[in-house]
């Protein structure tokens, strides 16, 4: 019952605020959604404590669909993995609800906003507690729609609408992979239930499946298809283009959905399917390769952006890459550990950025900020805490999880493990550099805002700074509390994350050379030091480096031209094809040789043809009506007798 309330309380809040927002007013909607979310968050704290190391169990609700052997229930799967996820989702969501009360206080549709936030939380909770693939898909699409609604929340802004549609469509591309992955699972296991699939995975280790005209290793096919879904949701290289644009949404949305929770759903999926991935080394290699590539790719773009939210968005993309290659090298628990710590410090960074934007009268361009740290000291301190955790400063939350990931990458036997390690280290330098750049550009140096904005700079109200404080505490301390997640005996998970007996990466990562252990700290120090040099001491350096490396800088600044490329090869051809098929196919060919052609021919042979035809319809009609009347009367007479 506790878990049912935990999951469904946000839904109730969403419905009440959404449908009766006008009746209960702004304040009422805030109280209802925050109250129910608070309840859920409270229960999620109980949940994480009671699920650690506990046996999985399921809470069945009712039947969803049941066709032949395709049996799907609405049910909650409660185990250590869903326990951690429920905690991350509910806990952070609650504080973001509270923060939104302050952040959105000037908006005219507060109930709608609170309703969407709660709706998102509900869908995300359904996703992480799903006990079968179809329910996972429900949550998966549900968070997608909530994200679509929230990105497009300010629907009068054309850029917001475009970003909302883009997010939904790019995700849908990934969803095709996920859906086909579900179909393969059903083909192999005759079920979409996790229990059945995980129990049967070992037996399928050598099975093959005939799909798409070839015979392939079955679990590899499953792994790759599911990962394509994960790539869409978690904005991995190739399907990442929607995430930066999603920053069009209000900042609390960016913090909750596009940093802390929804985008990590892909990592959750891979960890949840560890019993399958453990038997699919090729799929794991792909996960590691894409993850590591994304980590470095997004970091290079983050170096060059000026929009404060976009820098953090690319940072998120890059950190998600870390989580994926952690899973790829077999250290699923390290991936989830990073997911959990990242949720705190990245939400903190976004909310901090929101507080800055709020103070700067909705300015997001870092070139128009600077020197404001004295005016908003609380926000400044919070941003530093988030930054230190992100770059992995010793004893902050990010330090533990990023270290574990990089060490695991070194120690693993995955064919891409060194690729992942070196790219991971390089990305760590870049991360530290762009994080420092963000802090220095935003808070230090001369203030580049105009007079009017400067006179309005103010610290945010308590309702915003208190959630920041809580998240900052998490960003500092979450590492200690979650360290048990990567214990090598896996006692935290009690089987919720599966490791093949041959997979000893969690053991081996403690026995890496000293320089490997130290390299993340060195990377961090180099990156932060360089950014201090560039943006505090020698402020002409960035411009000089940028012009010296002009082609590279332009390439990074324009995000590797992915948007332009996709517009060229997908969007424009699609429109041209649509127009061509309509005008050319339907009108010029089918109609011309079909009905219109026949009509023209008929007209040519007999000028009265069309009139005859029309006449015929009415004759036909008349005859039919008489027939029906006859039928009825006849039936009434005979039927009685």
């Amino acid at each position: 019952m506790l878990y049912v309330i935990l999951v469904f309380a946000p839904l109730v809040g969403a419905i009440v605020a959404g449908l009766f927002g006008r009746q209960i007013g702004d304040r009422g909607a805030q109280i209802v959604t925050c109250g129910l979310m608070g309840l859920s968050a409270l229960f999620s704290v109980i949940a994480i404590f009671s699920t650690v190391g506990a046996e999985p169990f399921r809470v069945p609700l009712f039947t969803w669909m049941n066709v032949a052997t395709f049996e799907v229930d609405w049910a909650l799967r409660i185990d250590a993995l869903s326990g951690v996820m429920m905690f991350v989702v509910s806990f952070i969501s609650f504080f973001i609800h509270v923060y939104s009360v302050g952040y959105m206080s000037h908006d005219k549709s507060i109930p709608r906003f609170m309703s969407y936030l709660s709706l998102f939380t509900f869908a995300m909770l359904m996703l992480v507690t799903s006990d079968n693939l179809i329910q996972l898909f429900f949550g998966w699409e549900g968070v997608g729609v909530a994200s679509y609604l929230l990105i497009g929340f300010w629907y009068t802004k054309p850029s917001a609408c475009a970003a909302a549609i883009k997010a939904f469509l790019v995700n849908r591309v990934g969803d095709v992979g996920l859906m086909l992955g579900i179909a393969v699972c059903y083909l192999l296991f005759d079920s979409v239930q996790y229990d059945v699939i995980f129990a049967g995975a070992a037996a399928m280790a050598d099975a093959t499946v005939v799909v798409f005209g070839g015979e392939f290793h079955a679990l590899t096919v499953v792994g790759i298809l599911l990962f394509i879904g994960a790539m869409g949701k978690s904005a991995q290289l190739g399907l990442h283009t929607w995430l930066p644009d999603a920053m069009e949404g209000p900042t609390p949305v960016s913090a909750l959905i596009h940093a802390a929770t929804m985008v990590t759903a892909g990592v959750f999926l891979v960890a949840r399917f560890s019993p399958v991935y453990e038997y699919a080394p090729v799929a794991l290699a792909m996960v590691a390769f894409i993850g590591a590539s994304t980590a470095i790719f997004a970091a290079t773009i983050g170096l060059t952006q000026f929009d404060i939210k976009r820098v953090i968005a690319y940072s998120t993309c890059s950190q998600l890459g870390y989580m994926f290659f952690a899973c790829g090298v077999g250290a699923y628990s390290a991936g989830i550990f990073h997911l959990y710590t990242h949720a705190f410090f990245k939400a903190l960074l976004f909310l901090g950025a929101g507080s800055v934007i709020h103070a700067m009268s909705d300015e997001q361009d870092m070139r128009k900020m600077g020197g404001i740290w004295r005016k908003i000291p609380v926000t400044y301190a919070m941003m530093w805490i988030g930054t230190l955790a992100l770059v992995g400063f010793p004893f902050t939350a990010g330090f533990y999880s990023k270290d574990a990931i990089l060490e695991a990458a070194w120690a693993s036997t995955n064919s891409f493990h060194l690729y992942a390690f070196w790219l991971g280290i390089t990305a760590a330098v870049l991360t530290a550099f762009y994080s420092g750049r963000l802090i220095f550009m935003t808070f230090h140096g001369p203030c580049r805002a105009d007079e009017h904005v400067q006179s309005h700079i103010h610290e945010s109200p308590k309702v915003m700074t208190i959630p920041l404080g809580v998240l900052a505490a998490g960003a500092l301390l979450a590492g200690f509390f979650g360290y048990g997640m990567i214990a090598e005996d896996g006692s935290w998970w009690a089987g919720a994350i599966f490791s093949h007996p041959d997979n000893t990466v969690l053991h081996d990562l403690h026995y890496v050379p000293l320089w490997v252990k130290l390299s993340p700290i060195v990377a961090m120090a180099v990156g932060l030091g360089l950014s201090y040099l560039f943006y505090m001491r020698m402020t002409e350096m960035p411009g000089r480096v940028a012009s010296a490396l002009k082609p590279l800088h332009t390439f990074f600044y324009n995000k590797w031209y992915f948007d332009e490329l996709y517009d060229r090869i997908f969007v424009r051809p699609a429109k041209a094809l649509g127009l061509g098929l309509w005008r050319g196919g339907d009108q010029a060919i089918i109609d011309r040789f079909g009905p219109d052609g026949v009509a023209a021919a008929a007209l040519a042979t007999a000028r009265r043809a069309s009139r005859l035809q029309t006449g015929f319809v009415y004759h036909y009609a008349f005859a039919m009506l008489i027939g029906v009347a006859f039928l009825v009367s006849w039936y009434m007479m005979v039927g009685r007798g």
């Binding site: 629907y155 095709v176 059903y186 005759d190 005209g213 196919g585 079909g594 026949v598 039936y635």
Partner: protein, 501 residues
């Protein structure tokens, strides 16, 4: 209760109502008022009676229930034979429900020839219910072709400017199909000596003959569905039809093709159905991809939704010919869902058309500002059309995709691409009409939905979620009949046995 001729009652009650309306005399306004009232009450009572069919339906039985059989043309062995099974049951209810909905929906929007309008819809209801209950080929054919008449009239009298062209196009397509279907009926009658549907299901036809019969029926059903490339009548018919006509056209009439495949092609001509399944796959895949692209570029709201219907029905025809339990049950529930969702989407267009008298997408912008309730309703049906889990659109889609994957993974891949394309044109439509800023002067005064519109949408919204969250309510009664159908076509192969192959 059970010895009442319940099916005949439901079928012919609307006709009685129509007769009453015919008798109404007097001042135009009063006639209109009374005609509306009689039509509403008749359709409501009919709907309630049709619920009794559901109440008396035994889900555990595979065969036909509530059967009525009396000699009709004794010399030819043709009977008046009615009955429902798990396959037809829901279509009967869909027809009776949608009739009520369109009568409420057009309460204010139709002001000319109200009397004739209501009569046309009640006659239409009789024919729609009849076609799904008929268990004799001749009887079926009478209803099947008879439906076209009120539809022609609705388009022709209350339709738009190019109605003659549209109905002519429709006529040409259906004429060829109908003639061939009639020939098929005659051949079957000559071969088997009966037109009784349950008997014909037990009859085995020569394999070569099956193929010819199958093609003849295909001609008729493919036009109705409509399958590519027989679809070009649909956008024109929808554009010219009044809202209520579009709702029934999309909601019920398009389902006749799918129903025909399930009722005739599969059980009576099983070998030919398996033989021609690749043809169906090919045409359906083309339909999904092709019409989705075409829908993307439409500038007329109704045309866009009409093209989306072709794409959605493409998924349905794939499901029917999977042929396995997932695909077939999925296709039935997809047809029900499409009937509700696309019907509702046409009503959504009708709401703004009544106010602004334009179907041009570019004519609208930022409606969310003035019409929040409308925006919500539109959003729900838009998402259901996209196949969002939790709405009715998802259940059929997932069952069909998983079902066809067991048979042919390539078809599944192409069908799944519809998930992306379908989302593209629907979201874009929504963005261009509902989102954005309200700049046009007359839109600044546009009013949100009227009470009658809210009442008309309410049951459809409830059903979209009921079917999405608890589809078992709809799937369970059809299970036995579908299993029986699979036995008849000898394709009751379980997915597991396929996997081991």
């Amino acid at each position: 209760m059970s010895d009442w001729p319940l099916l005949s009652l439901v079928t012919f009650l609307p006709l009685v109502g129509a007769a009453f309306i015919l008798l109404i005399r007097g001042e135009a306004a009063i006639v209109a008022q009374n005609a509306r009232a009689v039509a509403l009450w008749t359709s409501l009572v009919t709907f309630l009676l049709s619920l009794l069919i559901l109440a008396n339906f035994d889900s555990s039985q595979a065969g036909f229930q509530l059967v009525e059989q009396r000699p009709w043309l004794p010399g030819f062995g043709i009977d008046y034979h009615m009955g429902v099974d798990g396959i037809s049951l829901w279509f009967v209810l869909l027809s009776t429900l949608l009739t009520v909905v369109v009568i409420i929906g057009s309460w204010h929007s139709v002001q000319t020839r109200v009397k004739e309008y209501m009569i046309a819809f009640l006659v239409m209801e009789t024919l729609m219910v009849g076609v799904f209950c008929a268990l004799d080929l001749v009887l079926f054919y009478v209803f099947f072709e008879g439906i076209l008449i009120p539809m022609y009239l609705i388009i022709g009298v209350w339709g738009g400017a190019r109605r003659i062209y549209a109905s002519f196009k429709f006529f040409l397509y259906t004429l060829i199909g109908s003639v061939l279907f009639l020939v098929a009926i005659l051949v079957m009658y000559l071969q088997a000596g009966t037109t009784d549907i349950p008997t014909l299901m037990e009859t085995t036809f020569d394999e070569n003959l099956q193929r010819w019969l199958w093609l003849a029926m295909f001609a008729s059903f493919a036009v109705k569905v409509p399958m590519w490339p027989f679809h070009t009548w649909l956008p024109d018919a929808h554009v010219e039809a009044p809202t209520a006509g579009s709702v029934l056209l999309a909601g019920v009439l398009l389902k006749l093709g799918g129903y025909g495949f399930l009722r005739f092609s599969l059980p009576m001509l099983p070998d030919a159905s398996l033989y021609f399944a690749p043809l169906i796959y090919a045409l359906s895949v083309i339909a999904i991809v092709y019409t989705s692209f075409v829908a993307l570029m439409q500038t007329d709201m109704k045309k866009l939704i009409a093209y989306s219907s072709v794409a959605h029905m493409g998924i349905v025809t794939i499901g029917i010919f999977t042929p396995n339990a997932l695909g077939i049950q999925g296709s039935i529930i997809q047809m029900l869902s499409h009937g509700i969702v696309s019907g509702a989407l046409f009503m959504v267009v009708g709401v703004v058309y009544d106010r602004i008298h334009s179907r041009e997408i570019a004519r609208y912008d930022g409606l969310a500002e003035r019409m929040p309730s409308y925006a919500l309703v539109f959003m729900i049906f838009m998402l259901a059309s996209v196949g969002l889990p939790g709405t009715s659109g998802f259940v059929g889609e997932v069952l069909i995709l998983v079902g066809i994957f067991q048979t042919n993974s390539w078809v599944a891949l192409f069908a799944a691409s519809g998930m992306v394309l379908g989302a593209a044109y629907m979201l874009w439509l929504y963005r261009r009409t509902i989102f954005g800023s309200l700049t046009k002067d007359d839109l600044k005064l546009i009013k949100d939905m009227r009470p009658n519109e809210v009442i008309a949408f309410a049951p459809l919204v409830v059903l979209v979620f009921l079917m999405g969250v608890y589809p078992s309510f709809f799937l369970d009664p059809m299970a036995a009949s579908v299993d029986n159908l699979l036995v008849q076509i000898g394709a009751a192969e379980s997915p597991a046995s396929l996997a081991q192959r």
